[in-house]
Symmetry: C2
């Protein structure tokens, strides 16, 4: 049974509590996995006296997860849309490197500026393989204005592909970027990669992904001399 969300604008205290719950849940889920964290543990770790705080503020686990996803998507989208607009506002033709840089670098810059540790990428990777959330996550990401603009006016366009192929290409781009970001975040969190190397490794990941996506798209479009 769902408690309806409070209809009145949330009080400042409620905003603070929601935010604390979201940050705590993001961290716990990233570190322990969705299967190993209860909503009660999240409430407790967020210092909420009421054990049903997640229920009260979010109407349950799935809505809490969706709220965290949106906040992550929003932060990336803000950077990406600025980059896309700056790029497409120029007169000259856009290169594929620039196209994929718009996809990849906003995430790279977010992780570098956030300073260690971050949890968003691991959280996102888990949400996108969770059966009940997967469809939602994919749709929410596809519907961002920056992606819609890039796919229409960028250097790799929907219309360049044979029927059906764009969707399959687009899924591969998503799979690669989501999980590559998550794996670097895991390696930094677990000390497999040292924290002082973090910035260099995020930049390297960005460059690897841009290079790989140029090669991948070119091959799928039948261009590359293989």
């Amino acid at each position: 049974m769902r408690t309806p969300a409070p209809a009145a604008p949330p009080s400042p205290r409620s905003v603070v509590a929601r935010n604390k719950l979201m940050r705590t849940a993001e961290r716990l889920y990233a570190e322990k996995g969705f299967a190993n964290v209860s909503v009660r543990q999240i409430s407790e770790a967020a210092g909420q006296r009421n054990n049903s705080a997640v229920q009260y503020h979010f109407n349950g686990r799935d809505e809490l997860i969706k709220a965290i996803l949106s906040s992550y998507t929003d932060v990336i989208e803000e950077r990406r849309i600025a980059m896309v607009e700056a790029l497409l506002g120029t007169e000259r033709a856009v290169t594929r490197e620039e196209h994929f840089a718009c996809l990849i670098l906003p995430g790279v810059e977010y992780h570098i500026e956030a300073a260690a540790p971050t949890w968003g990428a691991r959280f996102f990777a888990q949400a996108i393989v969770e059966p009940a959330l997967r469809e939602y996550v994919i749709q929410e990401q596809l519907n961002t204005p920056s992606l819609r603009i890039l796919n229409t006016h960028g250097a790799v366009r929907r219309k360049d592909f044979a029927p059906g192929l764009f969707q399959r290409y687009s899924a591969m781009v998503r799979q690669l970027s989501v999980h590559a970001f998550a794996e670097l975040e895991y390696d930094l969190a677990n000390g497999r990669i040292e924290q002082r190397e973090a910035e260099a490794r995020w930049r390297l990941l960005g460059q690897d992904l841009i290079t790989s996506l140029c090669g991948l798209s070119s091959a799928l479009l039948g261009e590359a001399g293989r």
Copy 2:
């Protein structure tokens, strides 16, 4: 606290029970996600009268998951090693298409022959993003003989890459193949793609992945005219 596994060879009845628990868990986890299935539910759905059957037969959830993973890896490995040996036993040079075909096609054939529905790919994708299992899954896959042989004697070799790059390349190959397989399995299970198209879609996925990995590897090796 862990109960030690029975030291005597398992009875036929125990083998049957273990197998039933594994198949049931694989299906439930694939359909509902690790977070939404308890070991008690698995025991019940597998028709075990004892609610601690998972504990008794596997010493808990993580060992159950590892057993399922191994059975999936073994099935794929059996096909892949035969393909690798047949390919490398020829005199002529191996092409990159053939190299990546060895990586990808055993999974494609498995899904086609198993006949719908399958659960292994979704199960695998969830295990590889679960913080407590991730490292184990990655190591187990890297250690298969077929991959070690391909990376040493195939058409894209460890030694072709600049220091550090092979590992990053190899992670991308894994991310793309694991999650692309899982997504097609989801789409078939959810009816987004119709069952009568299954075989054609698995073959298309295989070809897309081989093409993409040729382009990706070539770009990372600095060869492609981008």
